[in-house]
Symmetry: C2
Subunit: 206 residues, 2 copies
Amino acid sequence: MNKGRQTRHEIVNGALSLAGKVGLEHVTLGVLATDLQLSKSGLYAHFKSKEALQLAVLDEAVGRFTAEVVRPAITAARGEPRFIALFERQLEWINGSAIAGDDDSALSAGRCIFMALSQEYDDRPGEVRDAVARSQRDWRGALQRAASIALSEGHFRPDLDVEQVAFEFVGIAMAFQQSSNLLADPAAERRARAAFDALLARCRHG
Amino acid sequence: MNKGRQTRHEIVNGALSLAGKVGLEHVTLGVLATDLQLSKSGLYAHFKSKEALQLAVLDEAVGRFTAEVVRPAITAARGEPRFIALFERQLEWINGSAIAGDDDSALSAGRCIFMALSQEYDDRPGEVRDAVARSQRDWRGALQRAASIALSEGHFRPDLDVEQVAFEFVGIAMAFQQSSNLLADPAAERRARAAFDALLARCRHG
């Protein structure tokens, strides 16, 4: 990686870390320059606007999510095992243990940036909001495909509504995040698993 | 209401409206003064700190939620009808149609301030975070009590885990909010109802 790309990478990582603490909406070039002890003009050489930076941060988060959740789950056997692996990886992601590498951010402390972003931008039009929505649609799409494969493998019932399954999967993950982080409920993981087991049972038998 | 209380009320309403747009964390006395076209010293006469203002805003939101969701649901018959009424009111709240009165804020545009706050403060220690967590615990408690009554009325099965039910209820509401607002999915309400019907079926029969 050349020097310019390396610096850009460091800025994006720093911004992702900061976004986990103050929210992506409030990661401005000024705040970030202070946080990274860089000059504001140095930042401007890499990102022309706050939106360009935010989109790069979101892109990095999507890349990590793909690497830590989606790709490992796809190594599980087609069908129900893969669907279950997506759930396990999602729990780990929310718990923060799925985050490896060069980042000591609030992500590692367990905050799921996509859920935070999903709240932060859910009624604020713009390019960042569109990108956040796209990332969430893509994730639901991945869940739907996994459920469809489980259906075609005969693990799930043939009349299963896979979009409904993705909706409920997402809800369980969100309730888990709130229980685990905000409410610090020691039963959070047990409850998430019980909810997912009930969803699985309905996927199998209806 | 005397003049001082009236002004305080207007400030809190203005702040709640602003919180719906920029996030409660970023409702500072300076930003709010500009937004309400008041002097900063005028605001300081009513709120000594940003935290005091944020707590008052949260308190106002809890009051509205109680008035628009909890209290009307309690007029429904004890047991399952009341549990269902809580769900119906929660959907309306998220849709924004349950908000009446003197506020043209982003709340009316459908943003659920509690879910936004739940994300915003889930890993930031402090008095505001504690109050947000308490509001969410109280809401889960209300759901648990409604489920317990349905159990004692014989509507729900006797071995029902009512905390699990509250966890899953919250997850459905969160997935609904994301589907409805961020993703603008026209099927959002139908999916939320299908998920809730499946939860109800399990409450009855296990």
